[in-house]
Symmetry: C2
Subunit: 219 residues, 2 copies
């Protein structure tokens, strides 16, 4: 496993994409695919695919291509999708509610164990079967429940203190929805979601498209 | 502008990040920064920064570093943030409501012009000052309003047909929140947001962290 240490962020970020495409192929009953064909479907060069998968030992066979099912299983294992994760949502506003109702996470092994907020307006409210609890009870909750990941959906100004609270409680994975690259003086893994970044990329591409520099995303 | 054609997706995706960091520096009154210092703050190598910015003509000066304000202004221009974009949200569920209430978009020049849904339960409801309209009125709305971007927040099964409807109406930018790489037979720009991908990356890193292969995101 020592080789995995050198896997770059860019490769890691592409893994869920491989997972999605392979999962679609399986659904369509396609059991074998060349790196060329996979490349065409995914819009990644075949050499990039070979390079990416080589980081994990490579799974292709010269002249045969990839066995979809075994590649799918390998990537699921690399992504740790055989594991079960317990998550909590902190902040029961619109984003928190959207995440609580996002059924895709449960399918991937991420279960929602609790929702926390500091506002009496939402404490006690039921969202997708989970009752919103007072943020003050988070520490006690983490002591009696396994919690791997906190999804942080609080306003910008509260993000750091809430994230520190979660880290202090021993939660090791933080999924941050505030528009900041959160870093903490705790030994935790943080994944920042920057929705505005994605919108700005769309705006950039739209301008390039209108100026005739970029074609559309056609099928 | 011909040189911009060859700018890779990876560079484009990093631009909003430069924008955010430079905006923070400006707020702290820092007007000059070396690529080394910027590198340390952003967690990108200095050579990567120089390479990225060279795609757009380069803005640094040997021995001086970058002038933060002028670099910030240049990147804002490249990202088209001087432009104003009119957006509509299609799908007034939790995610649609979360986006409608996300104040950061307005700050970046993205105004919310309309919200559309097909459910009588939400049509007529007011979200952040905008009344949810019947999706059947989208075409007429686009004829009388400039709409650049549709944010698509409908359930998975409706995504393709709703996206096609928006494209047929002449909306050129689609921001898709369904867990699929949407492609259409229309000349449009599509940016797919894959929340599950980000969560799977967090899960992967968390496993690596627990196995001792990956340090935490410390300050």
């Amino acid at each position: 496993m020592a080789s995995k240490k050198s896997v770059s962020d860019a490769v890691i970020k592409r893994l869920p994409r491989y997972f999605r495409y392979l999962s679609d192929l399986l659904e369509f009953g396609i059991n074998r695919i060349s790196s060329m064909e996979l490349s065409k479907r995914m819009g990644i060069t075949a050499s990039q695919i070979r390079q990416d998968l080589n980081c994990f030992g490579g799974f292709g066979q010269q002249g045969y291509g990839y066995n979809v099912e075994s590649l799918f299983r390998e990537i699921s294992t690399i992504l740790g999708l055989d594991n079960k994760y317990q998550t909590v949502i902190i902040g029961a506003g619109h984003m928190g509610q959207a995440l609580a109702n996002y059924s895709n996470f449960e399918k991937r092994g991420y279960s929602l164990a609790g929702i926390f907020d500091n506002s009496p307006d939402v404490i006690g409210m039921k969202i997708n079967g989970v009752t919103v609890a007072d943020i003050e009870t988070l520490e006690a909750f983490v002591k009696t429940h396994k919690v791997d990941i906190a999804m942080i959906c609080v306003p910008y100004g509260h993000t750091r203190s809430v994230a520190e609270k979660a880290a202090r409680c021993g939660i090791k994975g933080l999924w941050n929805f505030s528009p900041m690259d959160l870093k903490l003086n705790y030994d935790v893994i943080i994944e920042n979601v920057h929705l505005s970044d994605s919108l700005m990329v769309l705006g950039y591409k739209l301008n390039e498209h209108i100026s005739g520099n970029l074609p559309g995303n056609r099928q």
